[in-house]
Amino acid sequence: MASVYCESAVIKAQELRNKNKAELVKTLDEAKQELASLRVQKVAGASSAKLQEIGEARRNIARILTVINQTQREQLRLFYQKKKYTPLDLRVKKTRAMRRALTPFERSLKTLKQHKKEQAFPQRKYAVKA
């Protein structure tokens, strides 16, 4: 339950991952407020150090959002592991064609005729005696 009292610094992702959802949303809100106040200070005339902090603040917000979304999707994947139907954005993406291609099992299927042929006349290997 660590609260961020030193806001104008770089928030570490490690610390964020220890927090739960409610705390993360709260931290996100605080980070956005920080960014908003920095923008106001820029309008009121600010030193170059403050201008750098704007970039840091934006990246902090991105970091928090990344952690939120990552942990959310991880949990959802666990939840849907045993289920038959999963949401579309949790399914394999690849490409449209690859998703519709034959599965490896389907490709390996042979007709009975071919199977018998292969059994009766397998590819022989020959060697020349040196």
Binding site: A36, V40, Q41, A44
Partner: protein, 144 residues
């Protein structure tokens, strides 16, 4: 007794085989055109949600209001007309701006006028209620 039961049974069999033929009743149609009849419409029961998790609100107050303006003309507006000027997201509408200003600075707006500047950003003139002083609010926000 036996014959009665047998008769009954035979009658029942005959009726069952023949079926019930009532007189066919034709509906009276008072209109010349045949309109599609209303059928049962079932509600959707999806087997899975299409998106795993709904998105966080995209147009929150921090996205709507970008920065306040402290140009000469905006300062004049603060003193004379009790209005604050903001640069605002282009996709924001007046209602969203009103809500955002209320959430961020805890002030009510009487009316909002917006325009899109020639450089593509949106400017919003937010007139505050009489009980709120624009100069006070501006000092509180910190951009004077």
């Amino acid at each position: 007794m036996f014959s009665l039961a047998a008769n009954k049974a035979q009658a029942a069999k005959k009726a069952a085989l023949k079926g019930v033929h009532s007189k066919t009743v034709r509906k009276v149609r008072t209109n010349t055109s045949f309109r599609t009849p209303k059928t049962l419409k079932l509600a959707r029961v999806p087997k899975y949600t299409r998106k795993s998790v709904p998105h966080l609100p995209r147009m929150d107050q921090y996205r709507v209001v970008r920065q306040p303006l402290n140009t000469e003309s905006s300062m004049k507006k603060i003193e004379d007309h009790n209005t604050l000027t903001f640069l605002v997201d282009v996709k924001a509408n007046k209602n969203q701006i009103k809500q955002a200003v209320k959430k961020l600075y805890d002030v009510d707006a009487v009316k909002i006028n917006t325009l899109i500047r020639p450089n593509g950003t949106k400017k919003a003139y937010v007139r505050l209620t009489a009980d709120a002083d624009a100069l006070d609010i501006a000092n509180r926000i910190g951009f004077i």
